[in-house]
Symmetry: C2
Subunit: 296 residues, 2 copies
């Protein structure tokens, strides 16, 4: 990881942790374990890729940092809610996430379902709050951006396709669409949120969307490569599950060499989308480069 | 049910069904069963109390009917998502809902979790869409209203308290707070949404909020009475579960007579909150009266 990126990650990680800590103080009532479960899932874990993308994009347009961090935290809340639900026994049945027991393991299934639901609602509460951003037009655009990216045409729809992938043999276009929905949509929404905060009109967001789409796909291909070749202790979660489940992935469809090549090509393409920006886009470029280099 | 109310219910029920039908057309891809599960849960069931409250409140202020129905549909989507998740084996473990198999019975658990998550996102997508309402201030106020009412301080927090109720012995103030969160918050949000659409400023919504709080609580007490004395076939769901689980309810804490009396008192109080309105509030009054009279 480059120095530029390492600094940005350290700053965003600490800022997002602080936000979650403030948002989720444990009440002295029967909901205490619900809040503890949300804290377990949100604080001190993950690469915070999505908030980083929101803040780095917002920085291009000199958006207030606190505001961008808060919006990034809302997007991370959506991401974390999806991890909690995806890890449930009825879904991917995972015991380990970010090196810690999954929420239903550390607490119980009912608490995990509700903790996910609460983080989902909390994300929209943050985005619609006048304290987050004073302009209601910006707030409602952020909500629409996130709701579309996380619903049946985005993240949750992609997870449904992923469950079906165990029962069907998907071809490359279908796997690409699945991944663009399952992880790509929220990564795009994170970048787009930065542009919305920067008051970039939809037609001015095309390059940023292109950047986000390319790194989203590259990220998933890299994930498939790590899943096949990575170290479980480093990854902090169970690996090689797709192969065991008989699912088609970029790797099974392309093979290691073409997958690696495709990933590099997407990263170059992502960086090329940023050509109209100068040094202010260095963090976004570093994120793109990191996607192919990362080891977890 | 009075004629006024029966007419209003028939109209709203049909309108909400039409909306869900249009919003949830089944795609020809691996998400088909996800959409079928959402249709199973949303179309053709329930009393549609929440959309009815939104539309009836919006009518006080001559709000466009289509817009009010769409906002009511979003609130119903939140309600239905919570029913799907509450029925899961890890939660209340119910096989029957609105006289039909629950979603995890008709489909499977993973599909039920995702169908709930998708309806949750869909609700906010509807509320934040400029096609629903042209004013972004109204849209973001609706989102905030619903997100707060459904999150950890509202519906989902109340469901967590309800799960804890099996392990603790709650007193009357705690049971009251539990119910105000679990069902009351969303009923209040439904009424408040009508007032937001009517551009009533927060200080002008006090009586309507009072009305909503009272019928919400009355509704829950009536539910406890029906749970103890009602007919499972009419109710379309399993009854007498609270007693079996050893949970304290209004009924166990107050006894039948005082519970019935309390319910009537709340309904009178709810109707009194509407005294500044004339005939235009007849549907809201009829809803309040229906709460004590209903048999399912």
């Amino acid at each position: 990881m480059s120095e530029t990126l390492a600094e940005a990650v350290a700053e965003i990680t600490a800022a997002v942790d602080r936000r979650f800590d403030a948002l989720l103080s444990v009440p002295d009532d029967p909901r205490a374990s619900l809040y503890r479960a949300m804290r377990h899932a949100t604080i001190g874990g993950g690469k915070r890729l999505r908030p980083l993308l929101t803040v780095a994009t917002a920085d291009l347009f000199k958006v207030d940092r606190d505001c961008a961090v808060l919006v990034g935290t809302a997007i991370e809340a959506i991401h974390v809610y999806s991890l909690i639900h995806d890890d449930l026994p009825a879904m991917d049945d995972d015991d380990l996430r970010r090196g810690k027991p999954t929420v239903h393991k550390a607490f119980d299934e009912a608490t995990a379902i509700l903790a996910g639901d609460c983080l989902h609602a909390l994300a929209f509460e943050i985005l619609a709050d006048p304290k987050t951003h004073p302009d209601p037009f910006v707030r409602s655009e952020l909500v629409l951006d996130l709701a579309r990216a996380s619903g049946p045409s985005g993240m949750a729809g992609g997870q449904m396709m992923d469950l079906e992938a165990e029962r069907s043999r998907f071809d490359l276009p279908t796997v690409t669409r699945l991944q663009q929905m399952k992880t790509g949509a929220l990564i795009c929404a994170a970048v787009e949120a930065g542009a919305i905060l920067g008051r970039v009109p939809p037609e001015g967001r095309l390059h940023l969307r292109g950047y986000a789409r390319d790194i989203g796909l590259a990220f998933q291909i890299a994930d498939d490569l790590l899943d096949a070749e990575g170290d479980e202790a480093l990854a902090g979660k169970k690996l090689r599950k797709d192969g065991e489940a008989g699912k088609e992935t970029f790797l099974s469809l392309l093979g290691v060499d073409r997958a690696r090549e495709q990933c590099r090509m997407l990263v170059d393409q992502a960086i090329d989308h940023l050509r109209s920006y100068g040094r202010e886009a260095e963090v976004l470029r570093a994120v793109a480069r990191y996607v192919v280099e990362r080891d977890r």
